[in-house]
């Protein structure tokens, strides 16, 4: 906790701003992560899996 050892309050301010940007960055990313996955993704994967099963059998 010696952020102010040089008596520079702008250091704290800069850190605060970087933290705020970090929070927004994660929010932006998580917004997409939390979206429902379109059915297409699972359908494509399922088709590939079935294709491979039938190749084996």
């Amino acid at each position: 906790m010696d952020q102010r050892r040089r008596g520079d309050p702008s250091l704290d301010e800069a850190r605060l701003r970087q933290q705020a940007i970090g929070v927004k960055l994660r929010q932006m990313f998580d917004e997409v992560v939390n979206e429902a996955v379109p059915d297409e993704f699972l359908e494509i994967l399922k088709r590939a899996d079935e294709r491979q099963q039938s190749d084996k059998g």
Partner: protein
Amino acid sequence: MMEPGAKNAAADPATEAAFKRELVGLIPHLRAFARTLAGDPTSADDLAQDAMMKAWDARASYQMGTNMKAWTFMILRNQFYSEKRRSWRQTQLDQEAAERTLVAVDDPSAPVALDELRLGLGMLPPEQREALILVGAGGFAYEEAAEICGCAVGTVKSRVSRARKALQGILEGGAYDRDGASAGDAMRSILADAERLSTVR
């Protein structure tokens, strides 16, 4: 190095099923990463689907128990850049449109601060933007981000640090021109939002 008993994801049906479950769990993250690279949601989902299928096809080369998230992100990134190289001529011709989609915001009701952040990110050099997103939003360690990007750890660290500085400068300085919003408004709004979010948590 292969641990004793370590197996590739195609070793047997049970292992393959476990691999598939983990891959399905990563789809939301692949979509989010693709969105930061491709910009518009439709081509981002195409990219995420291609990456998912490449990972599935390459499962025999994946060792169970290693970092699957980093592995799939690396596949997605390689896919993005190889497609980009293929369509280089087209990209050149369509440069202006590409720049528009990169910073496109679909939801008109999106909070202003998020909007400004996207614009700011769009102004960073691609390698800085990517490093910042992987470390700052994707939750990767510097070492993992370096592996994904195929560069040295020190390079990732310096890219993230430069990206942070540049982004803060953009947001504070109002380097863009947007609906007459005055310089510093974006940063104020981001600070206010971050405070609200952290008190909710």
